[in-house]
């Protein structure tokens, strides 16, 4: 699996841009999911000058067009990640959520790393901060996201209470100005804390309230002063407060990062209090407040970063709260619930690092009751509608921006592959990686040590590796106790698989690699009810094995002999 990911990444590097502006592009013989209209089972999409020119079963291919034969492929409107930090340098880390001990320290660190500002307000409570200022031009920075299938994204930082103003960008472009679709799009708010006041969630709400009140007053005052300045004290030209005025006038949406039911309810309360045009981002428990979202007409940018237990098993630990267990089980059902309740929603990556999980988890939403069409819509047209750019993006229609995602296999399946994306009419191609053979796991995996033709590419790049396959009698020198057992290795090129059997049980080895002088692998052993991660590295000279086992408890020597 790890190898497969590696290969994907490898292949992603070999993409190239092929189309100059002005030239036209025709994608032929494709299944076309227009989203706005019906599916065309076999047709052509023609793109010219960065826009969609024609679509149809019998659309003509222009003579000068570069032709992509998309037989067996499906063309979707370019997928939109409705909330990301795409293109922003990871300058600061997200502070701990409000109220947690240590939040203050994280907030202080974030503040220390922040760009200098002459605002009247401290770091984290400056709504005028704009994501666009941190963007840079260039296509390659977006390779990974684009290869996953995305062509546009909302991007904004994640620090502070005011995350700042987001931008909607295309995920390619030589300059920032060329990438922008809409800027500023919205003000983004997190219920977190900053260094100093507000230092708790209590203060967060009060600080937001006071700033919004002050902004309203400033607007009134500035208007009155503009009309007749004589005899009136001059209002401050406060750029932080001024940045809030469009929010109060419903000219700019306010995106609240709110995952739990409590957070969502608090965001909705605040939106109601100040008549804000609210959008919920995250929304993992939004299904529980679907009716309120519907009645307040608040859409959701639904995170596909599904929660998962990350804590290791440990007999000493208390069992997890039932509410936590329920929460994780319920999150994949949220999309279907919102859909049933008629709440508008769009999918977003929610900080996912492996963007393929976006589609896997969208697929889980489908397994939990969301229709496939609704799932596709939630990453195309519904997103564009919520982001107020549906006149430009979100469907395959004549005149819209030529953002297309061309997918091989089912978009929600694990073998999904995106050979082409089109951004602003520019074609990006991704070579499909050669799929690595599935290593023999467990009994019957013995396939000999010979090189597998399928794995030729990576294997060829490596220097000759030792043949380490075989069965070893091993001795592990744990302080105060000697553990003995058997290690069985199989080898394909530089990939090794196998099992390690000791009195602790039988363990499958992972990430096994052969080197010119030995091998290394990882494994997990059950010990005292806990799972302990170990990393084994050894040299093989003749039939003698010598190495170390590294674990969180320390390193111990391992020795062994290979059986004839």
């Amino acid at each position: 699996m790890k190898l497969k990911l590696f290969l994907y990444a490898f292949a992603a590097m070999s993409l190239f841009g092929a189309l100059a502006n002005g030239q036209s592009l025709a994608i032929t013989n494709a299944r076309i999911v227009t989203v706005s209209g019906s599916v065309i089972e076999k047709g052509t999409v023609v793109v010219r000058d960065g826009l969609i020119l024609t679509i149809g079963a019998d659309a003509k291919t222009p003579a000068d067009a570069q032709v992509i034969d998309a037989t067996g492929l499906t063309v979707y409107p370019g997928f939109i990640d409705a909330l990301s930090s795409a293109g922003l340098q990871a300058r600061t880390t997200t502070p701990a959520p409000g109220g947690q001990g240590g939040g203050q320290q994280a907030a202080q660190q974030a503040a220390a790393q922040a760009a200098p500002s002459n605002s009247n307000y401290g770091f984290g409570i400056r709504p005028e901060v704009s994501a666009v200022d941190d963007l840079r031009g260039g296509d390659t920075q977006f390779d990974a996201i684009r290869n996953a299938g995305f062509t546009s994204a909302v991007t904004v930082g994640r620090t502070g209470i005011f995350n700042g103003r987001s931008a909607i960008i295309n995920l390619a472009g030589d300059s920032v100005s060329a990438m922008l679709i809409k800027e500023p799009y919205a003000e983004h708010i997190s219920f977190t804390t900053v260094a100093g006041y507000p230092g708790s969630l209590l203060g967060t709400f009060s600080a937001l309230r006071q700033m919004l009140l002050d902004a309203r007053r400033l607007e009134d005052w500035q208007k009155a002063y503009a009309a007749n300045p004589k005899g009136m004290k001059r209002p401050d030209d406060d750029k932080s407060l001024e940045a809030l005025i469009p929010l109060l006038n419903r000219e700019m949406p306010v995106v609240f990062n709110a995952n739990t039911e409590n957070e969502i309810v608090r965001a909705l309360d605040l939106a109601k209090e100040f008549n804000l045009k609210a959008i919920i981002a995250g929304g993992q428990e939004a299904g529980k407040v679907a009716e309120r979202l519907k009645s307040q007409n608040v859409p959701v940018l639904l995170s596909l970063n599904f929660p998962k237990r990350t804590a290791a098993a440990n007999p000493e630990a208390d069992p997890e709260n039932l509410s936590t267990l329920r929460f994780r089980a319920e999150v994949p059902k949220t999309a279907a619930r919102l859909s049933q309740a008629g709440v508008k929603f769009a999918f977003q990556s929610g900080g996912l690092t492996a963007m393929n999980d976006f589609f896997v988890n969208a697929g889980k939403s489908v397994e939990n009751g969301l229709t496939k069409d609704a799932a596709i819509r939630a990453m195309t047209l519904s997103s564009a509608e919520i982001l107020d750019v549906s006149d430009r993006l979100g469907s395959i229609e004549t005149g819209k921006i030529a953002n297309l995602t061309i997918v091989k296999n089912d978009v929600f399946a694990t073998d999904r592959f995106v050979p082409y994306t089109v951004v602003d009419g520019k074609l990006f191609e991704q070579k499909e990686p050669v799929r690595a053979p599935v290593g023999g796991r467990g009994p019957g995996g013995q396939r000999g040590g010979g090189a597998n033709p399928g794995a030729a590419a990576p294997a060829a790049a490596m220097p000759a590796v030792a043949n380490v396959a075989g069965t070893y009698n091993i001795t592990i020198d744990v302080p105060g106790q000697v553990v003995s057992g058997t290690l069985v290795l199989t080898q394909q090129g530089d990939v090794i698989n196998g099992t390690m059997t000791t009195q602790l049980g039988v363990t499958q080895i992972r990430n096994g690699r052969a080197f010119p002088d030995g091998f290394a692998f990882a494994a997990a052993v059950e010990f005292g009810g806990a799972t302990i991660d170990i990393a084994v590295k050894a040299t093989v000279t003749g039939n003698i094995l010598n190495g170390t086992i590294d674990s969180p408890q320390g390193a111990v020597p391992i020795t062994g002999t290979k059986l004839p």
């Binding site: 608090r266 039932l322 799972t531």
Partner: protein, 464 residues
Amino acid sequence: MKRILNLTVTASLVIAFGVIAKAQSGGNVLIKNATVMTAAKGTLENTDILVTNGKIAKIGKNIAAPANAKVIDATGKYVSPGIIDAHSHSMLDAINEGSLAVTSMVRTRDVIDPKDVAIYRALAGGVTSALLLHGSANPIGGQSTTVKFKWGRPADEFPIEGAPPGIKFALGENVKRSNFTPQAGQTPRYPRTRMGTMEVLRDAFRRAKDYKQSLDDFKAGKTKVPPRRDLELEPLVEVLEGKRLVHCHGYRSDEHLNLMLLADEFGFRIATLQHALEAYKIAPEVAKRGTGASIFADSWSYKLEAYDSIPYNGYILWKNGVLVSINSDSDERMRRLNLDAAKMEKYGGVPEEEALKMITLNPAKQLGIDKRTGSIEQGKDGDILIWNVHPFSPYSHVEMTLIEGDVYFDRAKDIANREVLAKEREALEKLDMNKAPGNGGTPPRIPAERRIADRDEADRGDNR
């Protein structure tokens, strides 16, 4: 063994949402044949209580059951009013905004968590209402929220409609941060002494008066630009106008007396002295001002400034005519305030009904909600507890907790539900997302994450 124990405990403390989600405000119920401790008009034997649409409609013998009423046979059982905890930090996602000396702008209402399991545990101990207070990290803390523990209902159904707004003040060690070392790089926050604390309070009220003046001046047309709406000073103006209750944390009576003198100076009344473990020293002064005392039943000498407290504090205050309540300041103590009330009978000999009032009617009066709750009287809310035996017995437990006639805790159902929950847990733990990672992963929490709201130890320099 530990695991089995844990399972049982967890299961018994968490209730399936389905059970309570059905509860609607304003139930109809007839409790039959109980020993009713009214906390107002003595104890009535073999008595029925009829609750109609959430209100106590009738108290008497042999009341006929209306068609729509749920009938509960309480033969041989004791019935009391729901317990009211006048000092709680339950269901708050944050307790202290300790960054500033005056944080009157913050509102506990903004951070209430209706899913805090402490609520359910409190219901199991008979608590039906509570005052949710800001912590004691600063002289003027945040605004409080007076709630009924309507477990399973959304957040906006918890605050008691019409309850007077309140605010937390604090004095002494916590305020001057005596017991908290500033973290590296952190500047100690003013005030650092008791005299500094008084200065902060006086300064805040001077500023509030100025603010009030600026509002009045604008109204009178003396100024052109409307004054900034100041969320910090607004609640203090309300205090000056007698519209907001001050609940002031403190241990030493000299400090509490100082505060009452300051209130005299600015012309308002302190609603309650919180903790007040040595308030017996100033009992007549407290009584004279109509100020209440909300105390712990014990915790004598548990820290330096509590050194002079004595078991007879509650008795002496009561004897001097002070309105006394007993609070928990703790999710854990909250579950057995009945036993804390019993201690008042033991130390000094507060009469039984007066001791019961200290956890029911008296806190209701201190919070200004006694027209609605705090005793079993016709016309009040049906906030009622059914006990297996006399609530002052160490063998007592709550069998049923009703708020406005709706059952929010039912011991029999809870016990029956434990098996259901255990099965649910078993099923949930098998799901992929709930499985521990096969290898690697973060270390597990040992012990499980729990917010400590135990006494003022919760009022650490952090944000909880």
